[in-house]
């Protein structure tokens, strides 16, 4: 069965940062997960690859929580 967008986002964050996926909850602040601006751009690249979406650079800068990312990836 195909992964949901939530699962893909959580999976990528967990893998990139070496985190337990259960800690990557929708309300988690990206900063608290150790996600830097470079990590955010890397994540945008990976999500564009995985989901076929396009994320504007300006949008990347406004992301604050995990939920912000999943919302941005809903086509």
């Amino acid at each position: 069965m195909a992964q949901s967008i939530d699962e893909i986002v959580v999976g990528l964050i967990a893998r990139n940062k070496g985190l337990d996926p259960s800690t990557v909850i929708p309300a988690a602040e990206l900063a608290s997960l150790g996600i830097t601006s470079l990590d955010a751009i890397s994540l945008a690249y990976q999500l564009e690859e995985a989901l076929g979406v396009e994320i504007a650079n300006a949008d990347i800068e406004s992301l604050r929580t995990v939920r912000d990312i999943t919302d941005r990836c809903v086509v």
Binding site: N16, K17, I41, S42, Y45
Partner: protein, 407 residues
């Protein structure tokens, strides 16, 4: 002048992972050069053979979150360096005061290819933000230092020595004695030499094709990939820590012939070999074995034969000359290091690795025939003779250290 000795070896090649796998493949006449089957959509590519590191799976060696940050050439460098550090029995103190010197022929070709594919084939608008740090020629050194929480962690690169060029085929052999105590200009207690390369771009996508019954043609030499690392240190330091000593790096010569960008010149090789002999204080008659560049091309082999004849004169007919490229492929920037390792082990075991698939003996009349394994006797100062695109030529001279290395 203090002696410089080789105390650790590590390599990744088409013959497999590890020095002993590499060496046993060489001496038993195996080859890692195989037919290539290209992935769907790339069948038209005219490269038919290659020496990929066939048995390699990144996930067997690196955590999943580090693999996207490490180009294939960095992964090979790190694995070879880990082996060399372990083989050399180096502790953290020794590692911290070492210089790490890396050479590469092409840098991160895997990253380059992925980026081009992404931008120009798939029409995407964004490249990975780490494209440059992952693919740049110094990435292997940097990645090893910063990314890994493994034995490599303690390796500190000296900023003054974070070298990565000039590094085509011969370039991997640039500088070794200069960076060691007692060598010209040497002021470092130890240095590690990294040689990393990928040949014809990334080989990651290939699968091997069926093997023909016999590889008969010298054209079966192909481009390859891999990495080789040697640990160099002063003899005094090696003795003080009771290290295993493979050989002395007795001399080194380097030249640039300022000739054609790809067509080799015998003159450049002659200058490098003579400089190495002079550096080692050896006469041509003292040399028993030459590990030849031996690419199997019409340009190289006759040129190299002429150069060897010019340097060794009548002794050329007594020399044992062989090339190992038909076994591990032409791994470009890694070739010099792989061949230095092969030559070092030839000293250790008194066995010369054969030249595979050598048909035209007249073309290289002084080369050993396929699958011969001449025994060496006594003191053996052999000399790898790497050439390189751009006219670079390196020529280290090795010497067996016998019972009383400090004498």
């Amino acid at each position: 002048m203090a002696r410089v000795v080789i105390t650790g070896l590590g390599c990744v090649s088409a013959l497999g992972l590890g020095v002993e796998r590499f060496w046993s493949g060489l001496v038993t006449g195996e080859t890692g050069v195989r037919p290539l089957v290209w992935p769907a959509g790339r069948e038209a590519v005219k490269v038919a053979i290659g020496a990929k590191v066939w048995s390699y799976e990144p996930g067997d060696w690196f955590p999943a979150n580090q693999i996207p940050l490490l180009d294939r050439f960095s992964q090979f460098a790190i694995l070879a360096a880990r082996q060399a550090v372990a083989d050399g029995g180096l502790g953290q103190e020794a590692i911290r005061s070492a210089a790490v010197v890396l050479g590469t022929g092409c840098g991160g070709k895997e990253t380059e290819e992925q980026t081009y594919r992404h931008l120009y084939r798939e029409g995407r608008g964004r490249v990975h933000p780490l494209t440059i740090p992952r693919g740049m020629p110094s990435a292997a050194t940097e990645s090893g230092q910063h990314r890994l929480g493994h034995p490599w962690t303690g390796l500190q690169c000296d900023h003054r020595l974070r070298l990565f060029g000039p590094c085509r085929c011969a370039g991997g052999l640039t500088h070794p004695r200069r960076l060691c105590p007692g060598g010209p200009g040497g002021r470092y207690r130890r240095s590690f030499h990294l040689r990393v390369a990928q040949g014809m771009g990334s080989l990651a996508d290939f699968v091997p094709g069926p093997m023909p019954p016999v590889l008969r043609e010298s054209k079966w030499r192909g481009s390859g990939e891999g990495a080789g690392v040697v640990v160099l240190e002063s003899e005094a330091h090696a003795l003080a820590r009771d290290a295993k000593i493979y050989a002395e790096l007795a001399g080194f010569g380097l030249s640039s012939d300022a000739g054609h960008i790809t067509d080799p010149s015998p003159n450049g090789a002659v200058v490098a070999m003579r400089a190495a002999l002079a550096d080692a204080g050896l006469a041509p008659a003292a040399i028993d074995y030459v590990n030849a560049h031996g690419t199997g091309t019409r340009a190289n082999d006759p040129c190299e034969t002429r150069a060897i004849r010019q340097v060794f004169g009548p002794d050329a007919d007594r020399l044992v000359v062989s090339s190992t490229k038909a076994a591990h492929g032409h791994a470009m920037g890694a070739s010099g290091a792989l061949e230095l390792i092969a030559t070092t082990l030839a000293i250790r075991d008194g066995v010369v690795p054969p030249t595979l698939n050598l048909l035209d003996r007249a073309r290289g009349a002084i080369w050993t025939m396929s699958r011969t394994r001449p025994r060496l006797a006594g003191s053996v100062p052999p000399c790898p003779t790497p050439f390189a695109f751009g006219g670079l030529n390196g020529g280290p001279r090795l010497r067996r250290l016998s019972s009383a290395p400090g004498a």
